[in-house]
């Protein structure tokens, strides 16, 4: 099932970002490797909904402004409290390696194809919901 979802997501991302499917793997970062910009994330959401015939609530897969609360960032790095917020808001993001160097500037790199696959797999099988 994961392979099937992966294939569909590669197709979706290829359409949204104009990147050949052969250039994508599970660890590809949407921003760093595939060149996604903020506008592209909206397009990706539209395409995922259509491809998988599901409704993706606003802010669930690609939440915005999650670290703008006081105390979540200090000197350019996400604090321990901030990491907890990220875990809660982005349960499908692999945060372990980010936590080793939680520089805010690195965060976008962790929006990966794998994260989207994990989200969609959960969404399709369980109807994922994030508070």
């Amino acid at each position: 099932m994961e392979d099937e979802i992966f294939e569909k997501i590669k197709e979706t991302l290829s359409g949204a970002l104009g990147v050949d499917k052969s250039e994508m793997d599970m660890d590809s970062s949407l921003v760093r490797d595939l060149g996604a910009e903020s506008i592209d994330f909206i397009d990706i959401l539209f395409r995922l909904e259509k491809t998988f015939n599901v409704k993706i609530p606003s802010g669930e897969l690609f939440p915005g402004n999650i670290l703008n609360q006081e105390g979540l960032i200090k000197e350019g790095k996400v604090t321990a409290e901030g990491l907890e917020v990220l875990k809660q808001k982005l349960p499908f993001m692999e945060l372990d390696s980010f936590a080793k160097d939680p520089s805010v500037s690195r965060l976008a790199d962790f929006f990966t194809v794998r994260m989207v696959v994990s989200y969609m797999k959960d969404r399709v099988t369980n109807g994922a919901h994030v508070s």
Partner: protein, 152 residues
Amino acid sequence: MRWHLLQAIEEIDPAGSAVTRAQLPAANDGVQRELLLLEMMAQTGGLALGVLDDFQSDLVFAKVDSADFSVSPSDTAGLRIEARLSEVREEGAWLDASVKSGSGIILAQARFLLARVPGLNKNSSTPVSFHRAFMEGYQVRSKILKSEKGIS
């Protein structure tokens, strides 16, 4: 946005569409005619999307999925621009739009994405896209159709 590219707003349907009138400037200052037609469609689409949240959000012309243009029109006045929402999310919408000449010939068609963005003007709560001069000058609210319908 150069809202004055539009001459008048005909109607804004909260069910998901808008119609405007425009005229292609005789001298385009080097700007390609196709870009002006695309901008007219985007601005009309902005009205169709903007009405959904009472023109409180700023909108950005984000992506063009497709755009087709006919040969140069002989009648550049009285252009009718129609835009319709095809897919809507809180973050933005895909729209289908067209420009027809005064005699009804389709001059341009496009499908594009408008994105809602948090207030672009950090010094004011008034959106840049729907500033007061535009809202009043074009009598925007008076063009909104009374409708029981709504889009989901």
